[in-house]
């Protein structure tokens, strides 16, 4: 009697891995890809919840409407400006702080754990706190900013020139610490001789930093920027709590614009068009960072 054919160990292992990997892939695909496809389809329809049952295919009308809507165009520009300004400042500030905390000491470890506080505070509470602190009539910062002429008499958020930069400032406060933590973990995993060479103070330290440390940090820097850029692109909380997109669309960003169209005006078609554009932009952005990371990773494995 022939014995049943037995799979090789490597084949069984492969099968086991596929089996334990499938549930997560299936779940994420079902709850993310399905709505995304749905959204993509909706973006080509005139679909409003206020007029149920009267959906019709309109081709690129929702996209044309978006491009010709000054408020949506403003949101697109604001989103890119916000993402770039926030991520660039957080990277510079975060790298500087990470270098300061590089040496392992009790003081540095304690400081590092305290840095976690802004990252973990509920973003909604962050928005409320800064709204209060920056209020021109009674806020601890806002009041003195008016007195000393740093902000206009009606505060930072009433002025189209300062509203978006102020939101960038709040984002810097909230997320620079995460940047520090990621960059520091990268610095600490650098080879020992590199660390010693770069840690010597004195003349040439800056040059060693740029020539040796920064190139080795490319994967970590890309990862940190990728994570931050993905989140900055989705900015919603502080806009929703503090400015509602105003004044005069100065802080209108794509995520807020899409939420307003979809969840306030129930215009599903238009909202879906905006979120599809968002996904395309952030996809291209992330693809760039991921290529950087994978290339650096591949070099490291050689």
């Amino acid at each position: 009697m022939p014995r049943p054919r037995r799979l090789l160990l490597s084949q069984r292992r492969r099968l086991f891995f596929v089996m334990i990997g499938v549930p997560a892939a299936a779940y994420v695909a079902a709850v993310t890809l399905w709505p995304l496809t749905q959204g993509l389809v909706d973006s080509f329809y005139d679909d409003s919840l206020l007029r149920p049952g009267r959906d019709r295919f309109t081709g690129f009308d929702n996209y044309v409407a978006m491009v010709s809507d000054p408020s949506a165009r403003r949101a697109l520009v604001n989103t890119f400006a916000f993402t770039f300004a926030a991520v660039a400042s957080e990277l510079l500030l975060g790298f500087a702080l990470a270098l300061l905390l590089w040496r392992d000491s009790a003081f540095n470890r304690a400081s590092l754990s305290l840095l976690l506080v802004p990252v973990t505070v509920t973003p909604l509470a962050v928005g409320l706190v800064f709204r209060a602190l920056l209020a021109p009539e009674f806020g601890v910062i806002g009041y003195w900013a008016v007195q000393w002429g740093i902000s206009g008499p009606r505060g930072f958020f009433a002025d189209t020139a300062t509203a978006l930069p102020t939101l960038v400032g709040i984002d810097i406060w909230e997320w620079t610490p995460l940047m520090v933590l990621i960059l520091l973990a990268g610095l600490k995993s650098l080879p020992h001789d590199v660390m010693e060479a770069a840690a010597i103070d004195g003349a040439g330290a800056a040059q060693r930093l740029v020539r040796i440390v920064v190139p080795l940090m490319v994967p970590t820097i890309s990862l940190a920027c990728l994570l931050r850029a993905m989140d900055a692109f989705k900015l919603f909380d502080s806009v929703f709590i503090i400015t509602k997109g105003g004044p005069n669309d100065a802080t209108n960003v794509l995520m807020f614009h899409a939420a307003k169209l979809g969840l306030e005006f129930f215009d599903i078609g238009a909202a879906s068009a905006v979120s599809t554009v968002m996904l395309l932009c952030v996809g291209l952005l992330s693809f760039g960072f991921i290529q950087l990371m994978r290339r650096a990773d591949a070099r490291a494995l050689d």
Binding site: F17, T32, L116, L124, I268
Partner: protein, 274 residues
């Protein structure tokens, strides 16, 4: 001379760090202290730093809001989401790390890319679906949706963690007759413990702090603290003081959890690099 330069450098370094810490911590300290301020001091003109502490704000929030219910909902959402995300995400991350094929790496980055999906893009169709199956207004709707984004992130974090754990010990155990599940639970998982803690921490934090999804998917009976904080802010007779008092429940617990587990915080994110 050299020592003096060294000391001066250390003082400058610590000074800069302390200055940064003051900037990063003051707003949170303000949020905590405002809860103990009498209403007239919050709005005093110009703002003051000295005041007589009061517990009036705490009495008021418990009189107006169902704080224990909100707290319970927050706990349900964050623990439910975290349990589901770890259950789905950890084995998948392990599988992708061990498959050592090009497509597995691609898939791992695909999971990371799920994080860039704008929440509104999933929220709108999901909202309509929950309405159709009568699950709108329950914590389960929030858990189902939060679990997706978190699972994807857990998969990616565990993928990078397991990739840094060499597979030789598992292979040796397998040839000694250990089952594959046994090799995973008894050998690989303990070695990946820091990444596991980090994944759990991230998942708890993100789902505890999330407010966009629950704001639209829950109702008065199922709303978590983050949404409660927002609705409290919307009411007219609410002062900054009561908001600070509410933040003691919505914000302080999660900050303390993160501080307690701080050394695990970024390990899951950066383990796979270098």
């Amino acid at each position: 001379m050299a020592r003096r330069i060294q000391t001066a450098a250390t003082i400058a370094q610590r000074g800069a760090v302390v200055l940064a810490l003051i900037c990063f911590l003051t707003p949170v300290l303000w949020l905590v202290t405002v809860a103990y301020k009498p209403a007239r001091d919050v709005f005093s003109f110009p703002p003051t730093l000295l005041f007589t502490p009061t517990l009036a704000n705490f009495r008021q929030i418990f009189a107006i809001f169902d704080v224990p219910l909100w707290l319970w909902n927050s706990v349900l959402i964050s623990f439910g989401t975290t349990a589901a995300s770890l259950l789905l995400g950890v084995p998948a991350g392990y599988a992708l790390a061990r498959l050592r094929a090009g497509w597995a790496t691609g898939l791992a980055y695909g999971f990371l890319a799920v994080r860039m999906v704008p929440p509104v893009a999933t929220l709108i169709p999901f909202y309509l679906m929950m309405r159709d199956i009568h699950m709108l207004g329950t914590v389960w709707a929030v858990i189902l949706l939060d679990t997706t984004a978190n699972t994807a992130f857990v998969v990616w974090m565990m993928y990078s963690t397991f990739r840094a754990v060499p597979p030789e010990m598992e292979l040796a155990a397998l040839t000694d007759g250990c089952t594959m599940a046994g090799a995973f639970f008894r050998i690989a998982l303990p070695l990946a413990a820091p990444g596991l803690v980090s994944s759990a921490l991230f998942s708890i934090m993100l789902s505890w702090n999330d407010f966009l999804y629950p704001a639209f998917l829950t109702n008065a009976d199922s709303k978590p603290l983050a949404v409660g904080l927002l609705s409290a802010y919307g009411t007219k007779d609410i002062t900054w003081g009561t908001m600070g008092a509410l933040a003691h429940f919505s914000t302080i617990p999660i900050v303390l959890v993160a501080l307690a587990l701080n050394r695990y915080f970024v390990q899951g994110l950066t383990r796979g690099l270098h």
